[in-house]
């Protein structure tokens, strides 16, 4: 698989000029502002036991920053990939790449890898901000590793989603719209559907299966032991294990489909 040409071009393009550095700076600035706000709120609302102040501040910082980073990753991943193939088609560069020895798999994986690399750089660059939580205690390093792994999984899955639509539809606008519609459904509509079903049915037997596909309960489970314990008791399925596997399988499926659409069998009259 000739992965390097596409990967190197994408990285070079992404990092060229001031845009990449400005975006990273903005990303870190948002995290820092939120971290300082959380710190201010946590300190002002001290727990009854003063010895737990540090831990509660650390915990609040960690949970908030982890959720915020997950949200940013979910928003940014498709933004990086939803134009990956469609823009090449729009700018009439795709055919010239398609007749080289670079296989469709290499094009798709190369473009995804470049997006993941940029997001990984953002996550790694945010470690100093995240490490503020460790100054206050109450956070296990293993939780940070778990959160980082989940965020990369989200980057993979939602990046693959953007790539799939980018390869399937011909216009970047539609590819972007479809990607965010799917994200909206998973993040917002699924929990609403679960809530509605719960209200109509028997609450004792209800399992919010659609909500288990939402990325945020996973992050909450990784960052908040109490939440994880409560979910373990309530859920019939070990969703902290099953959901990441579902995400990985879906991501691979989307990538396989993207490779199919990038291949030589072109449909002329897509959107």
């Amino acid at each position: 698989m000739t992965l390097l040409p596409v990967l190197m071009r994408e990285l070079r393009s992404a990092m060229r000029g001031r845009r990449a550095m400005l975006a990273l700076t903005a990303y870190l600035a948002i995290l820092l502002i939120v971290a300082l706000s959380v710190y201010a709120i946590a300190v002002s609302s001290q727990p009854a036991d003063p010895s737990q102040t540090g831990e509660s501040v650390g915990q609040a910082l960690f949970v908030t920053l982890s959720i915020l980073q997950a949200a940013l990753v979910i928003i940014l991943a498709p933004a990086f990939t939803a134009n990956a193939i469609s823009q090449e088609r729009e700018q009439k560069t795709f055919d010239m790449l398609a007749v080289t020895l670079v296989e469709p798999t290499s094009i798709v994986v190369g473009k995804l890898a470049a997006s993941l690399a940029y997001l990984a750089m953002c996550l790694v660059a945010s470690l100093p901000v995240m490490s503020l939580a460790f100054l206050f205690g109450g956070v296990e390093p293993s939780a940070l590793v778990e959160v980082f792994a989940l965020q990369m999984l989200f980057a993979l899955a939602f990046g693959a989603l953007g790539l799939f639509f980018s390869s399937f539809v011909r216009r970047t606008l539609w590819s972007t719209v479809f990607s965010y519609v799917v994200i909206f459904v998973v993040v917002a509509v699924f929990p609403i559907v679960d809530t509605a079903v719960n209200a109509l049915g028997s609450p004792d037997e209800f399992q919010p299966l659609l909500t288990y596909l939402n990325p945020f309960p996973l992050i909450l489970s990784a960052t908040t032991p109490e939440f994880a314990d409560a979910m373990r008791e309530q859920a019939f399925v070990p969703f902290t294990t099953v959901t990441p596997i579902v995400y990985a399988i879906v991501a691979v499926g989307l990538l396989v489909a993207a490779v199919h659409f990038v291949g030589p069998r072109k449909v002329k009259k897509r959107l």
Partner: protein, 312 residues
Amino acid sequence: MSETPAIDVMNVTHRYGATVALDGVTFSVPEGSICGLVGPNGAGKTTLLSIAATLMPPGGGQVEVMGHDVVVERSEVRKAIGYMPDFFGVYEDMKVWEYLDYFGAAYRLTPEVRRERIPGLLELVQLTGKHDDYVESLSRGMQQRLCLARTLIHDPRVLLLDEPAAGLDPRARVELRDLLRGLGEQGITILISSHVLADLADICTHVVVIEKGRLVSAGPLDDLIRMVTGYTRIRVRVTSSFERARRIVEGYPGVAEVAGAADELMVRFDGDDQAAAALLGRLVRGRVPVVEFTPEHDLEAAFLTVTKGEVT
């Protein structure tokens, strides 16, 4: 020029929904030839070139490039061809050398080979001074030449060029024509579509005419023009002895009409290449100082005669 086909198109059919883009097209392009692909808009030229370039499989029939099937042996075909689409973009955020290096890597050339080849290619397309410029800063003609350099980065034996002169100013067109002629002299087979028939007539050895997805004519350019018009026009220019030249030409078998004055004769000649060569020999033996003896191809007249202006 070898008669071995570099491109063999066998009974190719292709549809877009209900529209028939190609309908049983069969022809071959000999190795080392420059073949013009001619036809009205919508005739199926771009579809044919896209199939030959492995971008899409034919709906029916078979296409082979340098003996490799474009569907079954896609990689072998891609190694053999350089393809330039009719509308193409460039990565504007890349420098000129990066652009060529990227495609060199995409053809799996080693960094050493790429470093070695890029200066030569830039010199060939007269962009040496633009090595470190951004692609977006190049003019349309320069981008066209850069794109042609890209098609040559992996040393292909066959070039598939879809309207390479489109949008170029007259100077850029002349430069492109000279460049293609030079590549043809290096033995590269070129299949080129263009609307500028005069340009094609100037450089092509063969021509394929398609209309409404069907083959109208295919073969050596001289044969097509002779078949259609029934004669060849030969321009003869001499430095002196004009009257002697005129007498020799007028009395030569196959010459239907002679016109011209001063130092130039336009000869309407009904004979093949060998007969034309014999006429030239006769002039030289007759001590006529010939400085130009050029069979002229009126491709436009031939094209208008063989096509009906129909599109799919």
